[in-house]
């Protein structure tokens, strides 16, 4: 089998030209301390054992790899398998990273955790892990998202977290990140910033990727058990890109496994109302990293749109940009409408209600399955469950009627 060496990245904090650390000076000692602690702990047997133990006994790993027979028949082509991150405690893959980073924070002696959240899933994951590990937790959330995701705000509060409503800028995820960074600058001594995706300054994109890579590692073992070989294609949705990198990374050196990241096409790429950063963005610097961003000709960050709040972000993880540039992974977009169709299809055919984010991946996987035909295997990462989206879907469907 042809092997390439891409797992070595980041090199000096960079994925090709991307990544790096573009942050205010006050935060430099904090990320240096984090990088040092992580390098030490990732080889520490006790840390690895703790992490793995919480993942199995608290979060419910391994998650199943399910052969979606009905969906396969419906799509009419390649076999479709679903990696069931929706069954993880908390209802999404976010829990993997939250447990990992909370353990890290604790070992570093930090007592206070801050996080940003868009849809609320990362906020909920952080609140869960923090409460279980006895850490104080505060979550920043844009005012518009607070309104859209009331239920998740209440869930975070139930879990003992304090939710700060962010009223600056566009009042969505990017502004919540800005505000969390500002809090971190002020409280850098005792506070740990728990980033929810493979974004931000180095070493965050690497740390989050490593914690999420359990997804891909399990897929490898499970596919080997079922088919005695590697999958042909992996499909995952991309907002910041953490579930996608977690899925891709263990396969990144196997050039025969094709990788597809699915971005939010919103109302269509021509409408300009989407969040497809890799598809329509350009190089820029945002939230501590050099990456692709959606911006105007002056470099101001654009408003994004997606039916799924979790994909509604104008940046993307720097490693995805690298994988796109060297053509190791393909990035495509699926519209709101297509994602909604997939949401309904999967619910009816398999009795699984996917998160709207994950529905983007399901939609594209069906298209691919049809195109590449039988005797091929596609694994789709079902990053989360759809309970949080039911109100939104109801509103949309009613409106359509």
């Amino acid at each position: 089998m042809f092997m390439i060496n891409l797992s070595k990245y980041p090199l000096k904090g960079k994925y090709g030209n991307y990544g790096g650390k573009y942050i205010p000076e006050t935060l430099i000692p904090a990320i240096d301390e984090l990088a040092e602690a992580y390098e030490k702990l990732k080889k520490d047997p006790k840390f690895k054992k703790d992490f793995s133990s919480y993942l199995s006994h608290y979060a419910g790993r391994p998650t199943p790899l399910y052969f979606a027979k009905n969906l396969t028949t419906y799509a009419g082509g390649a076999r479709i398998f679903l990696k069931r991150e929706d069954l993880l405690h908390g209802g999404a893959h976010k829990t993997n990273n939250c447990i990992g980073q909370c353990l890290l924070a604790k070992r570093m002696g930090k007592t206070r955790i801050i996080a940003e959240t868009g849809a609320g899933q990362h906020g909920v994951g952080t609140a869960m892990a923090a409460s279980m590990l006895g850490l104080k937790c505060e979550v920043y959330m844009g005012a518009l998202d607070v309104k859209r995701q009331r239920l998740n705000v209440y869930r975070m509060e139930l879990l003992g977290a304090k939710v700060h409503t962010v009223n600056s800028g566009t009042r969505t995820l990017k502004d919540a990140i800005n505000e969390a960074i500002r809090d971190w600058i002020i409280n850098v001594k005792d506070t740990y910033y728990l980033i929810g995706s493979v974004v931000g300054p180095h070493p965050y994109p690497m740390i989050v990727r490593d914690f999420q890579s359990i997804i891909g590692r399990e897929i490898k073992v499970q596919m080997n058990e079922i088919t005695n070989s590697l999958p042909d294609i992996l499909v995952a949705c991309v907002g910041g890109g953490s579930n996608a990198i977690g899925t891709f990374y263990p396969f990144i050196d196997y050039s025969k496994v094709r990788l597809y990241g699915v971005e939010a096409g919103g109302m269509g790429m021509r409408s300009g109302r989407h969040a497809a950063t890799l598809g329509a963005g350009s190089e820029g610097i945002l939230h501590g990293m050099r990456t692709y961003i959606l911006q105007d000709k002056d470099g101001q960050i654009k408003n994004t749109h997606s039916i799924s709040a979790g994909l509604d972000y104008p940046g993307v993880g720097p490693q995805h940009v690298h994988l796109k540039e060297i053509k190791r992974a393909n990035y495509v977009a699926v519209t709101d409408r297509e994602a909604l169709d997939a949401f309904h299809t999967l619910s009816r055919l398999e009795g699984i209600i996917p998160a709207l984010e994950s529905a983007h991946a399901v939609s594209y996987a069906m298209k691919l399955a049809r195109k590449i035909g039988r005797r091929k295997d596609i694994v789709v990462t079902l990053s989360g469950r759809g309970d949080k989206d039911i109100e939104e879907v109801m509103r949309f469907t009613k409106f359509k009627r």
Binding site: E25, I28, I185, V188, I285
Partner: protein
């Protein structure tokens, strides 16, 4: 650090130091409350005693700024302010004050988007003397510093209260014009008083920087008492930003705004004159 280059910032510091004075640096958000007011505001501050003007080129996501400057940037952008118009504003100021040092403060994505070389070249032509990019770390600054050097522009890097001794030395090496000492753990914004650690860190940084380097202190400074404290701790300059924006906001519809700003600059400059 090159503090002796032939540029307006260094010349200003040399002149002031020879008279035993410290510099008053006044910050304004370009295009706040609107383009024509910005021009008048800068003139008022200069006539009141501002030695150096720092023009903020508004960015949509200003992570190092507190609510006051965030809000002013957002309003300026809403009114159609762009980096190009900011350069136009600079050109007008430059025409009026040929010797005034002018520094642009913005976030890395603004020059990055146009290309550091092209953007800085245009900035130089319109009369800008240097840049402050609060999200630019020295590790990522190779191109930025290289092009700035070629063009004779100053690169002002920031130092924080938690910056290590070795790193302070590196930052000073990368800086030209002056180094910007962040007085507090925090974002920009008016503070009523400063903790002891602020004063200690300024003293420490000035000791490391040495007498030839120019050390400016900013974040939170709003009264003449603050100015005196910073100068006593060893600052060669103080930077006043949010306090000016708040004054503009208060008097936004008043005919007295310019007069009041001039008076404010005079008040803030006074302790700079009695410094050394």
């Amino acid at each position: 650090m090159s503090f002796e280059e032939n540029n307006r910032i260094n010349k200003k510091f040399t002149d002031l130091k020879s008279r035993g004075e410290s510099a008053l640096i006044c910050y304004v958000v370009g295009g706040y409350p609107d383009f024509s007011h910005s021009e008048k505001i800068i003139s008022a501050l200069v006539s009141g005693g501002a030695d150096i003007i720092e023009i903020g080129i508004p960015f949509s996501d200003p992570i190092a700024d507190g609510p006051t400057i965030q809000d002013a940037s957002f309003k300026a952008l809403t009114k159609g302010m762009t980096p190009d118009k900011c350069l136009l504003l600079t050109a007008k100021i430059r025409k009026k004050f040929p010797n005034l040092p002018i520094i642009a403060m913005t976030y890395s994505n603004i020059p990055f988007k146009k290309g550091f070389k092209e953007f800085m070249c245009r900035a130089k032509i319109t009369g800008i003397d240097g840049f402050i990019l609060p999200d630019m770390s020295i590790e990522e600054s190779e191109d930025y510093v290289k092009f700035a050097k070629e063009l004779g522009l100053a690169t002002v890097f920031l130092v924080s209260p938690n910056t290590t001794r070795d790193r302070i030395k590196k930052i000073i090496k990368h800086s030209s014009g002056f180094v910007y000492v962040v007085s507090v753990f925090g974002t920009t914004g008016v503070r009523s008083s400063f903790a002891k650690y602020s004063i200690t860190s300024i003293r420490n940084i000035k000791t490391i920087a040495g007498p030839t380097a120019n050390v400016a202190v900013g974040f939170g400074i709003s009264t003449s008492l603050h100015v005196k404290q910073m100068i006593d701790a060893g600052a060669d300059a103080v930077i006043v930003g949010s306090a000016i924006i708040e004054k503009i906001k208060q008097d936004i519809s008043s005919d007295n705004m310019e007069r009041k700003l001039k008076l404010y600059a005079t008040t803030m400059k006074r302790p700079c004159r009695q410094s050394h």
